[in-house]
């Protein structure tokens, strides 16, 4: 019989472990998480008998940091097994195909004035960074969808691909894309005007991060054009959201990989195209809405990544529940 005021206590680290069970693989859980949690519980147990509350909090913080560092180190330094290497090659191959298909699709809509062959090549080269910023996340999605569960021994190949792609997209949208965009505009102006003239003024898409910040501050100081100020702010957030897209698409791909929806290449392509279209349509809509000063700009720009992350999480939870049920059924 339990006492009326009895409350079952949860051991320290138990909640964190329960969350990590859903995130990390069985090997990482057994080799990294469990030994850390066990030692943490032991040390907290010793300090509970003799030690202040502050000391225990400090101890928790130290172990929390140790857990994060160990997980990162393990993910980065553990050598790939033969199966993981095979999976990585498989995932990258599909990502490259997806990226290529998206590039062809997007490039066919650019309407470049093809005056001479050299000019056409120049136009395509200058357009490539902005097209790649859209095509790479799609490639990640297709690559992650190709990661069949039976084939993939762990999620590391997909996680590695998503993070590497996010770094590339980040460099593209912060450094290369604004400069290439401006050069493209100058070239287009020259082609249309037939001669060299004054360079067109840079818009938000052609500015670097620091230029955007300066322009925003200058507009805020005058206090005249609130919408323009919003546009500078939105552009900055939009680029960060585009970088996050790689990670989000990686999560979506992982959640749906191995399901009937991603069993064949055609299905994966259809699913990927549908998801990417919905995502980019939402992004464009969000960016447009966000430029109005009266709307919540952060929410509008970050709506697609947040919505798709939740979708991925829900799909993953449902899949795990189904797996667990099947496991219980099989005894």
């Amino acid at each position: 019989m339990t006492a009326p005021n009895y409350r079952a206590s949860i051991l320290p680290g138990q909640r964190v472990r329960a969350v990590l069970v859903w995130i990390v693989g069985a090997t990482t859980l057994c080799r990294v998480v469990d030994p850390i949690v066990a030692d943490y519980q032991h040390e907290v147990g010793q300090h509970t008998r003799r030690g202040s509350r502050l000391k225990r909090m400090m101890l928790s913080a130290r172990w929390g940091w140790a857990l994060v560092a160990a997980l990162l180190l393990d993910a980065l330094t553990r050598p790939y097994s033969a199966g993981e290497r095979r999976a990585l090659a498989h995932v990258w191959k599909h990502a490259a195909v997806g990226c290529g298909l998206m590039m062809v699709f997007v490039m066919s809509f650019t309407g470049v004035p093809l005056t001479t062959a050299t000019r056409a090549i120049e136009f395509f080269v200058l357009l490539t960074p902005s097209q790649l910023a859209v095509a790479i996340p799609f490639g990640v999605l297709l690559g992650a969808l190709a990661a069949q569960r039976s084939f993939l021994p762990s999620r590391r190949p997909v996680v590695a691909m998503s993070l590497a792609s996010a770094v590339v997209v980040c460099c593209l949208v912060t450094v290369v894309y604004p400069r290439a965009n401006q050069a493209w505009r100058v070239l287009l102006y020259e082609s249309l005007a037939g001669s060299k003239g004054p360079s067109p003024t840079m818009g938000p898409s052609e500015m670097s991060f620091s230029e955007l910040r300066q322009a925003e501050a200058a507009t805020a100081a005058t206090g005249v054009d609130a919408r323009m100020q919003s546009r500078y702010r939105v552009e900055r957030q939009r680029r960060l959201a585009l970088t996050a897209t790689c990670v989000v698409f990686g999560c979506v791909g992982m959640a749906f990989a191995g399901t009937w929806m991603a069993r064949t290449f055609t299905r994966r392509l259809m699913l990927g195209a549908g998801a990417a279209t919905a995502y980019y349509a939402l992004s464009i809509l969000g960016s447009r809405v966000a430029t109005y000063p009266q709307t919540g700009w952060v929410a509008a720009v970050w709506l697609p990544p947040m919505a798709f992350s939740m979708l991925a999480m829900a799909a993953e939870l449902l899949r795990r529940r189904a797996e667990l049920r099947a496991c219980v059924k099989d005894g």
Partner: protein
């Protein structure tokens, strides 16, 4: 993992761990951190131990749960014969090299 030529490798952290374990007593990760006096950190010791286990330098087992004890069982680490052999070889090479340098 070993170097491409097949020669076993030993990093400074692995050396510190093997030195501590070579004393003969099995130790927990936290005990190793405490005994290393700053050479090993909580965040790196478990990853290093896993790597050493893959290389075959150490082996581990979960402790036998004591009656009435709560929480996850801790993991005990001890050196393997290969680990001790590598440590001795390393110490011999180091002694040899230091003698050569001091000549």
């Amino acid at each position: 993992m070993t170097a491409p030529s097949g020669v076993p490798t030993l990093s400074s952290k692995e050396l510190a761990i093997l030195n501590l374990l070579a004393a003969g007593r099995s130790m927990f990760g936290l005990e190793l951190v405490a005994a290393a006096k700053g050479d090993l950190k909580r965040g790196t010791v478990y990853v290093t131990l896993n790597r050493m286990e893959d290389k075959g330098y150490v082996e581990s087992e979960t402790e036998t749960p004591r009656p009435g004890a709560a929480g996850l069982p801790r993991r005990l680490y001890r050196p393997t014969a290969l680990g001790l052999k590598v440590l001795n070889a390393w110490a011999a090479v180091r002694a040899e090299l230091s003698w050569e340098v001091s000549k």
